[in-house]
């Protein structure tokens, strides 16, 4: 693996995990966001070699064949995606946020999502979808469904 290979290109072109998207290659659009050791990071600004030994979770890792997760269902219900290109980055960013702060409010959601560009939805349905998915991230015992994304 070349040292200059970005984590995004490694995921997409070497591991063929094409759910992670590349929209700007300079860390502004957030489409390439993945979760590295629990933190949402821009995989276009990180070299693949830097991820050695780390746990990397992509949108594929937050999905399953059987059904949409509660976060994904919430996105669908709120029509929080149109072209789908920013969506994987939105899902990973929202998942990292809700995992850390399951009680975040609208202002906090907007602040965190302001690092992810979407050109289709106007963001309003995305913020609603994330807020609506908070219940699924409550620690066990507080949330009766106990169903995490």
């Amino acid at each position: 693996m070349e040292p200059r290979l970005t984590l995004a290109d490694c995921l997409r072109h070497h591991l063929r995990l094409t759910g992670t998207h590349v929209g700007c290659e300079h860390g502004v659009c957030g489409a390439c966001t993945v979760i590295v050791d629990g933190a949402a990071v821009r995989s276009c600004l990180m070299l693949a070699v830097q991820a050695e030994g780390a746990e990397v979770v992509t949108v594929e890792g937050l999905s399953n064949d059987a059904d949409l997760t509660p976060l994904q269902k919430s996105f669908r219900r709120h029509h929080a995606l149109q072209c789908g290109f920013c969506t994987p980055g939105m899902i990973t960013t929202a998942h990292a946020l809700l995992s850390e702060e399951p009680d975040c409010d609208a202002a906090r959601v907007r602040e965190v999502l302001s690092g992810n560009l979407c050109r289709c939805t106007g963001y309003i349905p995305i913020v609603e979808a994330v807020l609506d998915a908070r219940a699924a991230y409550q620690p066990k015992g507080r949330d009766r469904s106990g169903d995490r994304a």
Partner: protein
């Protein structure tokens, strides 16, 4: 509960979402082929100059580089990017060569294509190509362009591509007798669609069969195939263009760009699959720009606020070449300057001036965003002059329902006539005023509250849709009894698969799960498709779908009649699953034909639909910082028969936010040398999640269009069109104590601060 014929009008959750949400969409850059080469393109860093030499030997020698292509390698005459819309002979001399031959005319113009084993090596090689360009004086704006001191095309002797003129009635006579006239100048700034997915292409040449497959098509694949076939000397039938998932269009994605020739050419040239994906910097300097327009305009009114006439001159900076749909925005600036208002006499011309900047094309609401800003600003100024209420002034002049169809200004030279199809423009205005609580909030107008000045504004718009001439659809009853739906309309992220599944299921009288899939865009699905632009996909493709469903049902009846031994007219199709003949004898459709039964349908149309509506905004302006907070924003539109309220609503909200980007922040800035100064997303700002949290959209479907069987009108552009004018009027209203009159967009903090520098009245 009905199980069939209940889908149109229902907020069905989107079918596309199931793959997008799991990261299983397939965009063109997700594709890979064995033995694939990667392309990178060397682009001009000079805005205007003559090419003296291009030295590629060092690049060719780099290990991993397969070849380098320049104009010399293309053949006798480098193909031009054609005009797709308004293909007037006047434009031909200004066509863009797909790769620079003798001159470069904008920063970003393609000079050489490197093909290498990896994208990284291809990019490395770009730095090894030496290009010598003799610089010429750059034409950086429309004023310099009009002087013709430096010419983009010396043979032509002018930088004026063409002048359009929009005429209705006799404006000169109306102005001669007018009791009140106001003249103003306005300007909108260059900005762009900026879909989030960068463009990409994957070309595969099958030398043995002489066939080309091009993935990464979007929007207008059939036109692009016709163009490419001519340019490559191939029959159309030898080319297939594939539409993958497309990460946003907004008018820009999918037009025929130089790369749409260069990458297929490279595949044939090398005999290997070639993939190219642009980076964001390339996108910002190569994909169609839009919206750079100015006007000097005059309006004539009676003292009671009846508008008599509108006349003036507009100027559009079209960039370096006339390509594909580059004349549409300018045409619309002139033709739709009157908006939804009854203006009996109109005479507006528009000059399309060439400059050394990226060529322009359509961007959602092309020309309409610009001209709505001009007109709605002007209307507020007139209302102020004449002491009229802003709402009543507009109400008095809106085209009324009994005037429908209403003839608008005719455009010359191509005699483009048009008329509004239907609607009641007062109702969307009323609803908009109710929703924003206009009467109550009017008390805040211009007031300083908690350190900020509050402002209120409204504006009305119309949105054209349903461009002809045709759309095609095909439905297949599969042997297993499911239905496959094929359509020439294209998906650019707007949820087309869901909308068409709804339309087809209702037309076939089946539940939505009986639709196996909606297959769209690609040139292999129907014989003749027209794509996605001018808010046409659902109107045109949906109407074609109704025709195909009717034809399929007839074909099923005919086939079933043979099996049942009766006449086709005696066969009834029950819930799309069985055919029932006389005496209750029936046959299941899944056993009807081992090959499946297919039927085609088409819709032909020369008229346009007109969606309409109103926007209103409430802002709070910090006069010291120039910051504008959007306290509330409402858009109300009537787009005829609504297929899916969930997706139409989403289109409206998203469209407004794009419009607010254009109103408040987005700006492609060039210096006087023709250098693009906003070549990254850190410099070119678009709205983020924290900018505009308070927007509401109400979509009505009270007035179906009379010109198509579906009754649908275009949707998706109404949110953007009025945003510039409404925001500027809201800021003017907030800062009325300073006599603020915005005449230019965007309303950046600096500009708003400047507007508040006059002494308070």
């Amino acid at each position: 509960m009905r199980t069939v014929n209940s889908l149109i009008g229902s907020p069905i959750e989107r079918l596309e979402d199931l793959r997008f949400l799991r990261g299983r969409g397939q965009y063109v850059d997700d594709l890979a082929r064995k033995d694939m080469l990667h392309a990178a393109i060397l682009r001009s860093s000079v805005a205007h100059g003559r090419i003296r030499s291009i030295a590629v030997a060092a690049a060719r020698a780099l290990p991993g580089v397969h070849s380098v292509i320049t104009a010399k390698d293309i053949g006798n005459r480098v193909p031009r990017v054609p005009m797709r819309l308004q293909p007037l002979p006047d434009f031909e001399p200004f066509g863009q060569p797909v790769i620079a031959e003798t001159k470069v005319r904008y920063v970003g113009e393609a000079i050489a294509v490197v093909l290498a084993e990896t994208a990284a090596i291809a990019e490395d090689a770009l730095g090894l190509i030496e290009v010598e360009i003799e610089p010429l004086p750059a034409v950086a704006d429309r004023r310099a362009s009009a002087q013709d001191a430096s010419l983009l095309f010396e043979d032509k002797g002018t930088n004026l591509a063409i002048k359009f003129r929009a005429v209705r009635g006799d404006a000169a006579a109306a102005f001669a007798d007018a009791p009140y006239v106001r003249r103003e100048s306005f300007r909108t700034q260059r900005h762009m669609a900026l879909p989030l997915e960068p463009r990409g292409l994957l070309a595969e040449w099958d030398a043995a069969r002489g066939r080309l497959t091009l993935s990464g098509g979007a929007k207008v694949l059939f036109f692009n195939r016709r163009t490419l076939a001519k340019q490559m000397g191939l029959p159309e039938s030898a080319i297939e263009i594939v539409e993958n998932d497309v990460g946003g269009g907004f008018g820009a994605r999918g037009e025929f760009y130089p790369e749409d020739f260069l990458i297929p050419f490279a595949a044939r040239h090398t005999g290997r699959p070639v993939k190219w994906t642009e980076d964001r910097r390339e996108h910002l300097m190569c994909v169609n720009h839009a919206r750079e327009a100015e006007c000097d305009v005059e309006i004539a009114c009676k003292r009671d606020g009846t508008i008599l006439a509108l006349r003036g001159h507009a100027y559009v900076d079209v960039g370096a070449y006339m390509r594909t749909n580059g004349a549409v925005g300018a045409r619309n600036v002139a033709q739709f300057m009157s908006g939804p208002y009854r203006i009996p006499h109109i005479d507006v011309d528009v000059a399309l001036q060439l400059t050394n900047k990226t060529p322009v094309g359509t961007y959602r609401g092309p020309g309409r965003f610009e001209t709505d800003f001009f007109r709605e600003r002007l209307l507020d100024m007139v209302a102020q002059d004449l002491g009229l209420d802003r709402v009543e002034f507009r109400r008095r002049n809106l085209v009324s329902q009994r005037e429908m169809p209403y003839q608008i200004a005719t455009i010359t030279p191509f005699e483009s006539k048009d008329e509004f199809d239907s609607g009641d423009y007062q109702t969307t205005l009323d609803r908009c005023l109710d929703e924003i609580k206009w009467t109550e909030k009017s008390k805040l107008a211009g007031k300083l509250i908690d350190g900020r000045y509050h402002g209120l504004a409204l504006g009305c718009f119309i949105e054209g849709g349903a461009a002809g001439p045709k759309e095609s659809a095909r439905i297949v009853l599969e042997p297993d009894g499911l239905y496959s739906v094929y359509v020439g309309s294209s998906a650019i992220g707007q949820g087309l698969e869901t909308a068409f599944a709804q339309i087809a299921a209702d037309a076939l009288e089946v539940t939505i799960d009986r639709i196996r899939g909606v297959f769209h865009g690609s040139t292999c699905y129907v014989d003749d498709g027209y794509g996605a632009y001018h808010s046409r996909s659902v109107v045109m493709g949906g109407s074609a779908m109704l025709d195909a469903a009717k034809n399929l049902r007839e074909a099923i009846r005919a086939q079933a009649a043979q099996r049942l031994g009766c006449q086709p007219s005696e066969v009834e199709i029950v819930e799309g699953s069985k055919a029932v003949g006389p005496g209750g004898k029936s046959i299941a459709l899944n056993g009807l034909s081992s090959e499946g039964i297919s039927a085609e349908g088409a819709f032909l149309n020369k008229k346009h639909t007109y969606t309409y509506g109103a926007h209103a905004a409430h802002v709070a302006v910090d006069a010291k910082l120039g910051h504008v907070e959007l306290v509330d924003y409402v858009v109300v539109e009537d787009c005829g028969r609504i297929i899916n309220p969930l997706t139409v609503h989403g289109q409206a909200i998203g469209s407004v936010v794009q419009g607010l980007g254009g109103a408040m922040m987005e700006h492609l800035v060039y210096d006087q040398e023709g250098q693009l100064l906003t070549g990254s997303l850190a410099d070119y700002l678009i709205p983020t999640a924290s900018d505009f949290p308070n927007i509401r959209a109400i979509v009505m479907g009270d007035h179906p269009s009379p010109i198509n069987p579906l009754g649908a009108k275009g949707a998706g552009e109404g949110g953007i069109i009025a945003a510039g004018g409404v925001m500027a009027n809201a800021v003017a209203n907030a800062l009325s104590a300073f006599g603020a009159q915005p005449r230019e967009l965007p309303l950046t903090p600096t500009r708003v601060w400047e507007l508040a520098q006059a002494p308070r009245k």
